[in-house]
Symmetry: C2
Subunit: 336 residues, 2 copies
């Protein structure tokens, strides 16, 4: 087997897997935001006819999986692997969605970096000869995350101005060995970095260094400058984290053009009172499967670097005084 590795951390696909289709389901708040026209399904309320928010998130994820396959005209039972992850303890959203889907299942945990991680791994499974079709997904739900990580939703706690708002959303892509569509051309799996941030409201600050590290390694591994890409889009640093990322990259001597953005910054308008923007595995999942895929298919964007960013702490680790380790995973998606 000839190595597909480039540099320290990057792999370049020999036969780049294709995104045949993407599908997403979001909550009402996301459905009122600037990207509202790019979502396939918008729930009327946070429950979407289920009895608990957790069951809602499971249902959203299951829907995005089945409909991504349907949109790609691929029978669900011809899909080789189902890769997914979410924020909930023991990734129950993914496990219970996978129970319904019935495909060989690989459960992932990468916090908000999960969509990039599932896409990177899915592409490796295909290009490695282990699959011809793979579903890659991620989800989050504002209310399930709030009550797990922070406070009961009913309490209506005030939020820090630099805090991000967990997106209610699930997104899936159907990756295939052959077909028409944007291609996954390379992937850079990130390292876990921790610069000592302990304020769990400030996840953007915790994640920025890890994301910078992955972007710098990716560009170095492939001898590219940032302007190789039409867009380098992180998900989800929010406004605070994005600013820090650009600062770190500048100090690292990188020539920055105006092609950086962040899914968490894009998904809500400033009138929506989400403070530093969106977060949660679902955020980059629904921006990828909606806005970004649309722009790629219309060729407004030809080459993007999609960089998932995850804060890898838990309530328990924070209670024990630990700082927040973080990670960034990057996949380049290109129209050929």
């Amino acid at each position: 087997m000839h190595s597909k590795r480039a540099g320290n951390q990057t792999v370049v696909f020999k036969q780049p897997p294709v995104i045949l289709a993407g599908y997403n389901v979001v909550g009402p708040k996301e459905g009122q935001g600037p990207l509202k026209d790019t979502f396939d399904m918008v729930l009327k309320d946070s429950y979407g006819q289920e009895k608990t928010w957790e069951k809602t998130e499971i249902k959203m994820l299951e829907t995005s999986m089945t409909r991504a396959a349907a949109k790609a005209n691929v029978p669900l039972d011809s899909v080789d692997y189902n890769l997914a992850g979410d924020l909930l303890n023991q990734i129950i959203s993914s496990n219970y969605a996978a129970r319904k889907i019935g495909l060989p299942f690989i459960g992932l945990y990468g916090a908000c970096s999960t969509m990039a991680l599932s896409t990177a791994l899915g592409a490796m499974l295909i290009d490695g000869g282990f699959a011809s079709k793979v579903l890659c997904s991620a989800s989050s739900h504002h209310e399930t995350a709030e009550r797990q990580y922070r406070f009961p939703n009913e309490q209506g706690n005030q939020r820090a101005m630099y805090a991000q708002w967990t997106v209610t959303g699930a997104g899936s892509i159907l990756l295939a060995a052959q077909g028409e569509g944007p291609k996954i051309t390379s992937a850079t799996i990130g390292r876990v970095l921790d610069y000592g941030e302990t304020d769990t409201n400030n996840m953007g600050a915790a994640m920025a260094p890890a994301v910078a590290d992955t972007i710098l390694n990716h560009l170095q591994d492939l001898s590219r400058q940032p302007d190789y890409y039409d867009l380098i889009i992180t998900g989800d640093l929010g406004t605070v984290g994005l600013q820090l990322l650009l600062e770190v990259l500048k100090r690292s001597g990188l020539q920055l053009s105006n092609n950086f953005s962040d899914c968490g910054v894009m998904i809500y308008s400033s009138e929506q009172d989400t403070h530093a923007g969106g977060s949660g595995c679902g955020c980059s999942a629904v921006v990828l499967t909606g806005h970004l895929l649309n722009k790629l298919k219309s060729r407004e964007l030809q080459k993007i670097l999609f960089v998932g960013s995850g804060s890898l702490h838990s309530s328990v680790s924070s209670q024990q005084g630990e700082s927040m380790p973080a990670i960034g995973h990057a996949v380049s998606i290109e129209m050929s």
Copy 2:
């Protein structure tokens, strides 16, 4: 890329990755059990000089990772990927261990099936041309699991006779594209099955059908009978689950020989009062990296099927009345 798929769910490696070395760390109870001579490091108490049990589990996992690489004479920074998972919310044991290790990290959640999952994926990354060396790991800790899933340890709750005892243990293998040692020849990623079991003390019963499904698919995909293997070892069904598994397999028309066992059954003696045996991601991880690797290297075993089994519920899903979905992942390990 020629497909490496066989049948419905199995992949066969073209250049089977090699287990260069394994390393494990266990707690005192495991160190007094029947497999005590197969463990590399035994902690004197459940804390192992750390201040919290969670920090102990992190340290154990980190130790197994670094020492597996050292035992294989592989510089840690030459390893391409670090794959790991555990039972704790947001897999903090793996995340914080990965922070120390500093390698590109892929976080997994498969409950007690994690060691088989990390091994299967690690082998795919190598045989797919994406890596030449990979660390595959899993861990659990009795006290961290008890207080997360069940009751405060200090409470000393009585346990059901059919309940399993979460193993305190961490195990890592160093997989490589080349070298001497047992080889990963094929892998079968499982589907999530749920037969409606709601008693969280009875995980063996929840997992048995999913494990049976994976074993049946594996054998069918490769046109093998169970006696192809010297040992088919599940991890971890415990005594109740193993009995159910054999029952399901018999009813499925499989000719069973006496080559079935379970890591959870092997790790404790009946005098150790663990009731139905061991469980937890660490159980199959330390049995694989100790007892099984030893037997393979001495050629007492030439061909084994290592089948990780995971119950994919959480406290929240159980509190919401959900039954327990489960999964089994299989890897065949052979001496050539």
